[in-house]
Amino acid sequence: MAFLASSRAQPQDATGVLVLADGTIVWGRGFGATGSAVGEVCFNTAMTGYQEVMTDPSYAAQIVTFTFPHIGNVGANTEDVESRVEGAVGCIVREDVTRQSNFRSEGEFVEWMANMGKIGLSGVDTRALTRRIRLSGAPNAVIAHDPKGRFDLDALLQRAQEWPGLEGMDLAQRVSREHQEDWEGGYWRLGQGYGAAEREGKPHVVAIDYGSKDNIFRNLVKAGARVTVVPARTSLEDILALKPDGVFLSNGPGDPAATGEYAVPVIKALLDQDMPIFGICLGHQMLGLAAGARTAKMHQGHRGANHPVRRVGESWGETQDLVEITSMNHGFAIDPDSLPEGVEQTHVSLFDGSNCGIAITGKRAFGVQYHPEASPGPQDSFYLFEKFVGMLG
């Protein structure tokens, strides 16, 4: 399907613009931070959890198109945040952001976006943009916001075109922690917020942070673990020095192949030592690469909170074929045809049959492509944290 390139003529009230690398210009009203940012335009179909999405480091260097038209209804708070590092650089929404209404809100979404340095664009036909991404893939683009409406379209276009794109990009290093951290936070409960982690006498998980969501650590704590988070490029020796009972591989942005260059050797060595390992999203892909599988960029990533995943294989016993509704956010995936001997596919997407989980035969190592930590999204898959913590010690 051919899309008409939209006009360079700027509508009167346009204070924001999205310039796609192919020259398409989408006008709208800017909000949040001013200036411009470059990234890949993706979409997310979740109807709740915009703050979590915007702070998920897996969205680094991405501009999120929210398919649900009303974003910002529940304002912003300091709890529904998934990391303190860079997440999505901007977002595109259909409706102008309204004032908040929710008892947990501490401020308006628009101000929060500005404080976080993220650029928003409203007044866009987000459904048309989503269909475009579905049909022709996720484009690179620049999102820009200027309250006075002054834009240098040529410069923005040039920047979009010169941006190399996510393929081959190792973003994990950029969003990973710089220092080791003893994770102190517990699980969230209504009216009580986040509890404190009990650390005494718990099995020790060393979590490698490739751009992790905090809720993963909270879930590990809830499942009964003590967590130490380490930067993406932590060496095998430093990891082992922490005397882990198990190692967790986090989610993160970018091309798994690029991150794999330094991550895979460490994971391979851990596998050789029969270290219990659990990987989520990028971490799952790292595990796959370490076990000898390949990853590939998907035509259209999976981003939403309604994705069905089926448990496959005999090892599930009674719960074989059970379907979990999961939160997903990935543009790369393990190619199921590339799984070597000894790597078992444990989960598949019911939407397109793509790989959603693997386990290494004879080892205590497994990973899932989706986000069992939810936030945002359904909490059907907490059992994975329990399973992992159950393997330790």
Binding site: N77, D80, N306, V323
Partner: protein, 1107 residues
């Protein structure tokens, strides 16, 4: 796990007649279920007493029993058909209760019938308040502080824990019948008593009040593998305290963070697991404290419900179809999502639009009942609208309601009123509260103030405030002249008509002068238009078209565009031209197409019967090779199912919305025409606008329809054909009305010139009553006269349905009413074929029908009402369009008359289409079903004003048996013994004597008030005299209230005696004593009682009747 092969035949129990709380959403669910089961090769047996349903069409189930849904009758069907399983979750509370009873009676065990979809224990656990509460405690979910009471004394004990205000909910009742909110002890006592009465288990739940809390509903589907998904989260705009069926609701939930939403999601699934709903759809309701998010479980329905219909239409996920598949063993991942055709049903729909539902009420029909909303449902229908934002969705819903709104119309009663008056109006939960809120903003109230009074979430209030602000800007500046600005307004959902009204105000000409000029033409008008931008709906449309501001159509695809949708299910929106042209996903085909306009929200007088006709038009024209396009906005219906038509537009039925759809459909392929004659008054009203726009209208011309409705034009035709009408006249003032009445002679029938469903019609017997009517019931003026008709007292009324192709006329059926002329035809019982009319009278009616159809050049369906008095046939009314009787005639005769009519309208000849069966060796009786019990204070008497919500059919070898079945199906249990109370007007005394004699012979005791008692004893009948209410106590109402009366025959003449006897009818209604308010119906009931033994009734399927 594939489908089960150990069962091969399944009994589906329907929901019976349309009543408040149980409407055509169960035709939608039952029809989907039957289709789904048939697809898999099961033999399906259906029982449903409602002939107006699609599901009872003989081609759906293998054996269709239009029989009363009582455990006794269904047991007979089970004994005869020996099904392997029974599916009780598709027919609302009626089916669940019936199945539970069958289980309790041991019928299921005796015949080895398995209950699928929900086990008896799960149903009981969900519906039994105490067990439900214990189950919730077990999984750690909070319930409201509450207690169960079986007596008033127990109720007071509970009250100590809950405090006032408290909410009273009877167990096992529909839509919360008999429940309410009590603010003081007197009210508490009254509601508890009502609730104990209403509950079949004499049990009420008394709960702490959560008034003002936010209310949510989660639609959950679970399969036998324990896969569970949420189809939709529905947020009530009206906070707790108003029944969810009476609340304005939106989807998805709009004011929850993900953390709060996920708590609710996980909780809903846990509720299904704990209750033990193994397969199928359920709905779980929650209350959320807006201050701290405290979550409380309110209730769950272990079956498909009204909200599952809404959720299905809102998301495109067919819950009933999927639930039926799950019941026979499939798992969610084995079922395809038919909207995408590529993904499985095991996912959670996500939407990229906002859905708004607004209920429609009928308080005006029930004089004396207070129009306030509470926890007992009172609405009779609903409209759903879809927009890309809340404002658009809400304003589309308001105009789709068809209550005269174009959006947030001004509430003139509150204009300029004091803050106290406005505050009082806001504090009351009424059907118009949302309009009062908008008016309050116009009067200077702030969001915080309105929120404090109404407890509406500020998020919704701010949007309404913004709409009001935009209105005030248009009201001062006129319409914008730029495409961007006009599009911005249209994207907020403003209708062209509303914009015109607002623009005219901007001119600032005092005293309605601008409004008057706007309607005219000439220089002044042109000047006005230049200032305002536009002064009429047409001018706004022209302005829009000039500026290129046109709606586009987006698809409802269950996945927010993540996958391609193969099902053309669409809604309109005004979209920004983000990529050059605004993206339009209508993609009309190049086929030859017919557009069918539906009936909009259900209301009394226009309900499922018309949806039935529209659905049949779709089926028939599809079979004939046309592409069928449905436009409707009623989420409860089969017509708005995505697989009924080839293309579905879920849109309000206004000229603006329909013309825009036609513009798009016209742009490609060939538009054969539009059918406006099948959806009741709603589409007919659009005929003028369509004709003006040059759109071909199929079938009988709108001019012929107008001729039949225009008294003067019609009178000319009647004279030309030498037919006889009751004497009549038109009056423009009280004096003229008196003069006409005197010329004709009393009694006369009075009504306003514009009538829908017999609204504000009344029979008057003298000057005083006529004057009262003129002064209270109608506005009579030069513009709106009142019509005066000779009233043929005690005449027999008949309905004749006919088909005509412009040349040949075929009679489809002649129905004789049981109640005499003067009772609205929709409220009368009737018999097909006639049960007591001589053949020459029937022949004469048929002759007149042929003459009228030919003269009116009818192409399609026609309905004629006749009155027969003293051997003379009078023509009452002609409707050259589909009427309410069409499905009944079709079911009774086994002939698809709506389908045949649709094909005739598309140009085929009757000679080439299937013949109508007329030679029936059985009798079918239709009986009306009334909602009086829901409207305390209203008088349950039958009048020319229609009040019934639905109908049932009894079918058997003779009239008495068929009539008995119709009474059982309607819910009246005819007594076999006991005391009959008789009080009839003088003209009925002779007529009733034979019936009383029959009952005496059958062993009944007779009591009667003075005049009647005297007359009956003079005829030699044993009768005991009882006091009228005004004659001192104990009187008749005391006896009825004490349960001493088993049957009531009560007919009245004149106004005073009518008022005097209201308490008799009210007490009979309250005590569930069968009562008959006409002599003819009393006679039919007596005949049924003496000649039919209800225990010996036989059941027989339609397929068997049709041979």
């Amino acid at each position: 796990m594939p489908k089960r092969t150990d069962i091969s035949s399944i009994l589906v129990i329907g929901a019976g007649p349309i009543i408040i709380g149980q409407a055509c959403e169960f035709d939608y669910s039952g029809t989907q279920a039957i289709k789904a089961l048939k697809e898999d090769g099961y033999r399906v047996i259906l029982v449903n007493s409602n002939p107006a349903t699609i599901m009872t069409d003989p081609e759906f189930a293998d054996a269709t029993y239009v029989e009363p849904i009582t455990p006794e009758i269904v047991a007979k069907i089970i004994a005869k058909e020996k099904p392997d399983a029974v599916l009780p979750t598709m027919g609302g509370q009626t089916a669940l209760n019936c199945a539970l009873k069958l289980e309790e009676m041991g019928v299921l065990a005796e015949h080895g019938v398995e209950m699928i979809g929900a086990r008896a224990d799960a149903i009981d656990k969900a519906e039994n308040r105490q067990r439900f509460r214990e189950a919730m405690d077990k999984i750690g979910l909070e319930s409201a502080r509450s207690g169960v009471a079986h007596t008033l004394a127990e109720a007071y004990e509970v009250l100590e824990r809950t405090g006032l205000p408290s909410i009273i909910r009877p167990s096992f009742t529909l839509g919360g019948t008999g429940g309410g909110v009590a603010y003081n002890k007197a009210e508490f006592e009254r509601i508890v008593k009502n609730g104990l009465d209403a509950s079949p288990t004499t049990e009420v739940l008394i709960e702490e009040s959560l008034l003002g809390w936010k209310e949510y509903e989660m639609e959950v589907v679970r399969d036998r593998n324990d896969n569970a998904i949420i189809i939709c989260a529905i947020e009530n705009v009206d906070p707790m305290g108003v029944h969810t069926g009476d609340s304005i609701t939106v989807a998805p939930a709009l004011t929850l963070t993900d953390k709060e939403y996920q708590i609710m999601r996980t909780a809903s699934i846990e509720v299904l697991r704990e209750i033990g709903v193994e397969t199928g759809g359920s709905n779980v309701q929650f209350a959320v404290n807006p201050k701290d998010g405290r979550l409380i479980v309110i209730e769950m329905n272990p079956r498909v419900s009204r909200s599952s219909a809404l959720a299905s239409k809102a998301t495109g996920f067919p819950i009933a179809r999927v639930a039926a598949k799950l019941a026979v063993g499939y798992t969610l991942d084995e079922i395809t999502n038919e909207i995408t055709g590529a993904t499985p049903a095991s996912f959670e729909p996500t939407i990229d639009y906002v859905v708004t539902k607004i209920p429609r009420f009928a308080f005006e029909k029930f004089k004396g009942a207070e129009p306030t909303l509470s926890t007992a449902m009172k609405s009779v229908g609903e409209v759903m609208a879809i927009g890309r934002n809340f404002k658009e969705s809400m304003q589309k819903a308001l105009r789709g309601l068809e209550t005269g709104l174009d959006g947030f119309n001004r509430v003139t009663e509150l204009e300029g009123k004091s803050r106290d008056i406005i505050t009082a109006a806001l504090s009351k939960a009424t059907p118009d509260r949302i309009l009062n809120i908008a008016q309050a903003f116009r009067e200077g109230f702030t969001v915080e103030e309105v929120q404090a009074i109404t407890f509406y979430d500020p998020w919704f209030l701010r949007h309404i405030e913004e709409i009001v602000y935009e209105e005030s800007m248009i009201g001062s500046e006129g319409l914008p002249n730029s495409a961007d600005e006009l599009r911005r307004l249209k994207a907020m959902g403003f209708s062209d008509r509303r914009l015109a009204t607002l623009a005219v105000r901007s001119v600032g000409v005092a005293g309605g002068l601008a409004e008057t000029q706007a309607k005219r033409s000439g220089l002044l008008h042109d000047a006005l238009r230049a200032m305002a931008g536009a002064t009429s709906e047409d001018e706004v449309r022209k302005l829009r078209q000039k500026l290129g501001v046109l709606p586009v159509y987006k698809r409802i695809d269950s996945c927010a565009a993540e996958f391609e949708a193969i099902t053309p299910y669409m809604y309109s929106t005004y979209e920004a031209p983000s990529f050059g042209e605004p993206e339009n996903e209508a993609w009309p085909s190049d086929r030859e197409k017919v557009v069918i306009l539906g009936g909009g929200p259900n209301r009394i007088g226009q309900g499922i019967e018309f949806d039935y006709c529209c659905v049949h038009a779709c089926f028939a024209l599809s079979e004939a090779g046309y592409e069928t396009i449905m436009v409707n906005c009623n989420p409860e219906t089969v017509s708005t199912d995505y697989d009924t038509s080839d293309r579905l537009y879920f849109e309000p039925l206004t000229a603006e919305d329909v013309l825009e759809i036609l513009r798009v459909e016209h742009s490609k392929g060939k538009l054969k025409g539009v059918i406006v004659q099948f959806g009741g008054q709603t589409p007919l009203k659009l005929a003028g606008a369509l004709e003006k726009a040059g759109i071909p209208i199929l079938g009988t011309s709108p001019d012929a329809i107008d001729l039949a409705e225009d008294r003067e034009r019609f009178a000319k035709l009647v004279n030309k054909l030498k037919l006889k009408q009751p004497d009549n006249g038109i009056a423009y003032s009280e004096d003229e009305a008196l003069a006409v009445a005197h010329r004709i002679g009393y009694p006369v029938l009075l009504r306003p010139s514009y009538v829908l469903g017999g609204r504000a019609m009344e029979i008057v017997d003298g000057d005083a009553q006529l004057i009262n009517y003129i002064n209270t019931a109608v506005e009579v003026s030069g513009d709106s006269p009142v019509l005066v008709d000779q009233y043929l007292r005690d005449a027999v009324e008949c309905d004749v349905d006919a088909l005509c192709d412009g040349e040949q006329v075929v009679i489809a059926g002649v129905m004789q009413h049981i109640e005499e002329a003067g009772v609205h035809s929709g409220d009368s019982a009737c018999s097909l074929p006639p049960y007591s009319l001589p053949q020459d009278i029937i022949d004469e009616m048929e002759r007149q029908a042929v003459a009228l159809a030919t003269a009116l050049k009818v192409r399609g369906l026609m309905n004629i009402q006749f009155a027969v008095k003293d051997g003379e046939v009078y023509l009452i009314e002609v409707n050259p369009r589909a009427s309410r009787t069409v499905p009944f005639v079709a079911k009774a005769s086994g002939s698809q008359i709506a389908k045949i009519a649709a094909r005739v309208m598309a140009g085929e000849k009757l000679a080439d289409l299937p013949k109508i069966r007329r030679d029936l060796d059985y009798v079918a009786v239709k009986e009306a079903v009334f909602p009086f019990a829901r409207f305390p204070g209203s008088d349950p008497v039958l009048t020319p004003e229609m009040k019934s919500t639905g109908e049932v059919m009894g079918i058997d070898r003779d009239f008495a048996t068929a009539y008995t079945k119709s009474q059982i199906a309607e819910g009246s249990v005819l007594p076999k013994s006991g005391t009959v109370f008789v009080s009839v007007k003088d003209s009925d005394k002779a007529a009733i004597t034979a019936s009383v004699q029959q009952l005496v012979d059958a062993g009944f005791q007779i009591i009667a008030t003075g005049g009647t008692a005297q007359y009956l004893s003079e005829q030699g009948l044993p009768v005991e005299r009882v006091n009228k209410v005004a004659e001192g106590r104990p009187h008749i109402v005391d006896k009825i209230s004490d349960g001493e009366v088993a049957l009531v025959f009560n007919t009245t003449e004149g106004w005073q005696s009518h008022k005097d006897s209201q308490s008799i009818r009210a007490s009979a209604l309250e005590m569930k004593v069968p009562y008959y308010t006409t002599a003819a119906a009393s006679a039919a009931a007596a005949q049924a009682i003496v000649s039919v033994n209800a225990d010996e009734l036989e059941v027989r399927s339609l397929q068997d009747y049709y041979g």
